[in-house]
């Protein structure tokens, strides 16, 4: 019973206590790059960066032989909590400035740089049963709409966009993240949803994305920073440089991100 009553809380608390313990010994810092031995870099990144950062990590590894890049993808808020609780991360890439702020406020990162922007699209099933063309169509009485919950970045962006357009939507569900929201569209359980462009592109054509002008009012900035207590500080800076480089921008734009 205990194990199911609060799975998320329990998992986080357990993870946090372990990570605190693991991160509290300063003597375990990984060797910096250039020392010749095998080095490892740990990157905490928002779930929506899974595809792009995995690709960038692969390129980073081939450019720095002997270096292993490990990713922890998850909700930006959860990752930020883990970092402030002492998780041994080198780089943090967040899906919102607010989550990055909790890390900079704790003094664990400084001068984050915005490396990508994500905008919303209306996602509809391939056959578009409710004939959705614009944001206003989502307000139709028979239209079933899924949004992200306001607590997660894509939900906050959806509220902003709908407010900007003056459209009042009664969603049937407020999902826990963009991927779950998209699943409801893919299975045809809802007629439309507001998710990120990148999610629509990553779904590989199973879902149609419709641009709408009000999306410009709700652009989501993705900041990245090397952490001040990074065990592999040099590698962390080099990885951030790669993400901000022309090569990094190419990978991100291919996936549907806008770059500053």
């Amino acid at each position: 019973m205990l194990t199911r009553l609060f799975p998320a809380v329990a998992a986080v608390l357990v993870a946090v206590s372990c990570l605190t313990a693991c991160g509290s010994s300063p003597g375990t810092a990984a060797p910096a790059s250039g020392s010749g031995g095998p080095a490892s870099l740990t990157v905490f990144a928002a779930a929506s960066l899974t595809e792009t950062f995995t690709e960038l990590g692969r390129r980073f590894e081939s450019a720095h032989s002997g270096t292993e890049v490990t990713f922890s993808f998850g909700s930006s808020a959860t990752l930020a909590q883990q970092i402030t609780q002492g998780a041994p991360a080198d780089v943090f890439a967040a899906a919102s400035p607010a989550t990055m702020k909790t890390v900079t406020d704790a003094g664990l990162a400084s001068a984050p740089a915005v490396f990508a922007r994500n905008t919303l699209q209306i996602a509809v099933p391939e056959d578009n049963p409710a004939k959705i063309e614009s944001l206003g169509d989502l307000a139709g009485p028979q239209v079933k709409v899924a949004l992200c919950a306001e607590q997660v970045p894509c939900g906050a962006a959806a509220v902003k966009a709908l407010d900007a357009a003056g459209v009042e939507v009664t969603p049937v569900t407020l999902e826990q993240d963009a991927k779950a929201t998209l699943t409801k569209v893919r299975l045809g359980e809802v007629d439309a949803a507001l998710v990120y462009r990148t999610d629509v592109i990553a779904s590989g054509g199973k879902v149609r994305g419709i641009d709408f002008p009000e999306a410009n009012q709700a652009v989501n900035d993705y900041p990245i920073a090397a952490l001040t207590e990074a065990p592999a500080a040099d590698l962390a800076r080099q990885f951030v440089d790669l993400v901000l480089s022309r090569e990094g921008r190419d990978v991100l734009t291919t996936a549907g991100f806008q770059v500053p």
Partner: protein, 256 residues
């Protein structure tokens, strides 16, 4: 008490209880009263209690006969059936939710027909929450009741049958009273599991306050922005379930 039992028993107890101590230690006690008074908390709690109770009723209605079928008949392929009953235990609940969508969703195998014929669509409704909870919780009831049925002395049933009782009369006058404690234990487990259900519920029924947002869903989303609120919600859920379960044990099974 022999120490080879005592030591692991205490370790086991500590393992189960220490995370709870962690929650209690980190709980924001000062802001607790005002957090509890938020209408959203009460709404989610009410929904959780109502859906878990209805789901348990559904499980009793379907699960007890199913347990009887597994324990008392010589159906061919009973072993396979028993294995199939435990599928929801093994399946990650999120996958269970997707499976329910594929069958009962608006475009699902059976849901399509429901929707076309009656205009009924189960996802995103409170009924959907009950279904998701019942799906995940039913094996706990079936396994408990089947165990009780196997342990019960069948000679009483045989005696009733030789005295002319029909199979149905034997079932509800002899078998059911004999296995009542097992049924209750199963129902309690089933209720507790339904109360904590997260994955299948959020996948199949979605998350909407007042309609499908149960406590575990509220906890998960609170964790995104306000970990303190998540801890408070978890404590409420824990406290309510412990009170209900402890109360049940005292009153009806006398095994406190």
């Amino acid at each position: 008490m022999p120490w080879p039992l005592l030591v692991p028993a205490l370790a086991g107890l500590a393992f189960l209880v220490l995370p709870l101590a962690g929650l209690l230690a980190r709980a924001p006690w000062q802001s607790l009263p005002q957090r509890l008074a938020e209408p959203r908390v009460l709404e989610a709690l009410r929904l959780s209690l109502v859906t878990a109770t209805i789901a348990t009723a559904v499980c009793l209605l379907l699960g007890v006969p199913l347990a009887w079928l597994l324990a008392r008949t010589t159906l061919p392929g009973r072993r396979v059936l028993r294995a199939l009953v435990t599928v929801p235990l093994v399946l990650p609940p999120v996958v269970g939710g997707v499976a329910l969508l594929l069958v009962l969703g608006r475009r699902g195998l059976a849901g399509q027909w429901l929707y076309d014929a009656f205009g009924v669509s189960l996802p995103f409704t409170t009924a959907g929450v009950v279904l998701a909870e019942a799906f995940v919780a039913m094996p706990f009831l079936v396994i408990a009741v089947e165990g009780a049925l196997r342990a019960a002395d069948q000679r009483y049933e045989e005696a009733a049958a030789t005295l002319g009782a029909s199979r149905w009369t034997v079932f509800h006058r002899v078998t059911l009273p004999m296995v009542a404690p097992g049924v209750l234990a199963g129902a309690v487990l089933c209720w507790a599991r339904a109360l904590g259900e997260f994955g299948a519920t959020i996948t199949f029924a979605g998350n909407f306050p007042g309609r499908t947002q149960t406590m575990p869903l509220a906890v998960y989303l609170a964790l995104e922005t306000d970990p303190d609120a998540a801890i408070v919600l978890s404590l409420v859920l824990l406290a309510v379930s412990v009170i209900v379960l402890a109360g049940l044990r005292d009153r009806w099974t006398g095994t406190a």
